[in-house]
Amino acid sequence: MPHSVVRDGFNAYFDAWEADIGSFLEFDKQALAVCGAKAAGLSPLSGLPFGVKDNIAVAGMRLSCGSKLLSGFSSPYSATAVTKLREAGAVPAGKTNMDEFGMGSSTDNSAFRRTNNPWDPSRVAGGSSGGSAAAVAAGLVPFALGSDTGGSVRQPASFCGVVGLKPTYGAVSRRGVMAMASSLDQVGPIAKTIDDAKLVFDIIRGKDDLDATSWSSDSVLDKNQAKTKLKIGVPREFVSAGLDPEVAANFEATLAKLKTAGHEVVDIELPSFRYALACYYVLMPAEASTNLARFDGLRYGTKQVGADLLGDYQETRGTGFGPEVRRRIILGTYVLSAGYADEFYYQAVAVQRLIKADYARVFKEVDVIATPTAPGPAFKIGEKIGDPLAMYLEDIFTVPVNIGGVPAVSVPSGQTTSGLPLGVQLTAGAKQEEILFALGRAMAA
């Protein structure tokens, strides 16, 4: 079939889906012509288009982070992860929608458009990498990059029925990724299958001199590579309360399947996890309020003119940032302020150490921790927008992973009776992504 016929067919398919789901903020259909030319390359990803979350830089494309404050800003350079994929022959085809600056669990906080779930457009795609997950689920791109600070790759992957990997902290360079909470942020792939996610991860991982927290993949410990029967820990206390009944049943069915495949399932205790959500929602806004201080209208994006320099700052930030970003900047400033830092920020960094210690202890006993990825399936659009704490609770299973700096993957685990996808989150010790891939394959089998 001539390329032009395939392209026309794809364009019609793309436009029909995009009208329903709104996953991209920018899409370069011309990029698909380049894909055809590169298709015969040596890398398995050669000639494949991919989506890039709009907080990850692609030279010449927009870099708005879903924020009005950066509308019209285009990046002069590409993130290292994007450059590595380009060098492997893959083609960045567009920028995907997201919650403004990554703050949200629904993509409802984007300043530009709503992203709907391809399985049910009256429901959210999850967030903050909702555009990337929805685009992959709808087949608009074979894979996409997201960023995960507290579950932003895994939760939308779960809501959209695709695979989402949050690698070990430092496994993938953050150069060219707009910082939200620098000690928690990590770039990760969203793909249809575990093997596709691994292909992308193997290309983007590795040390980068331009990100001092990145480390060489040569240092990966592979003591468990040869293991075929894995020990899976389930934090029973943590996963028993407040789960949607269908999520609970699906989770148990997944465990049963893994047992049948020969893996061992045991109960574990992670007592510090009861403090994880509070810890996260102190650390994240504290770091974000600091990182977002750079957006003052003088150096980037749009500027609003006030009466004086302070007026410029206040006008630009007041009108440029949306309500959730403003809320988190204020929270972050508050928990770092002189009178309250001990009670909030320093308490959170102490709790962080307990969470890391719990992971270290448990990973001496088990190879993997399994939980649902989210407490329920994709919720209705706008359902939680007025209740920040209810929205934050969406992240209860995903945030400890970022606090501990360990890797985790959300793997599709089936559907609710009404046909909404569900996911199970598998977490391993630092630098143990290979175990996650092995077990993820067992789940899909």
Partner: protein, 125 residues
Amino acid sequence: MLDLSIVSMQRYNMVREELQATASLAHLDLSEDEADAALPAFELMLEYFAAMKAADEDIEAFGRSILDIPPTTQAVSAGNRVRFDYFNNSNTNNQGSNPLPGLADELVKRVPRSENRFVVIPNVL
């Protein structure tokens, strides 16, 4: 809905002036009406965060008090890494054999208001 009362929660009081002062520190303007509307959500969240205090004495969970635990300073303890400081006005690290014009120039081009490679700001003197 998950059970929030995982730890004992006490009412957290915040006054509007405190919220406005914090917003002002963050260079965000918050009107009295906006502050009044936002206050209950802030109080609820701070109440939830303050419950981390219970971890101090949660001997059942941790086997000891956490008061003597040094705070975490790095997510992954790899030590500090620094690189040689140099001036590089090209963008070759990203573009291989096809360098763009100087990255600094490219960045200055994107500034909302500039003049001869300087960023224009209001007079502060």
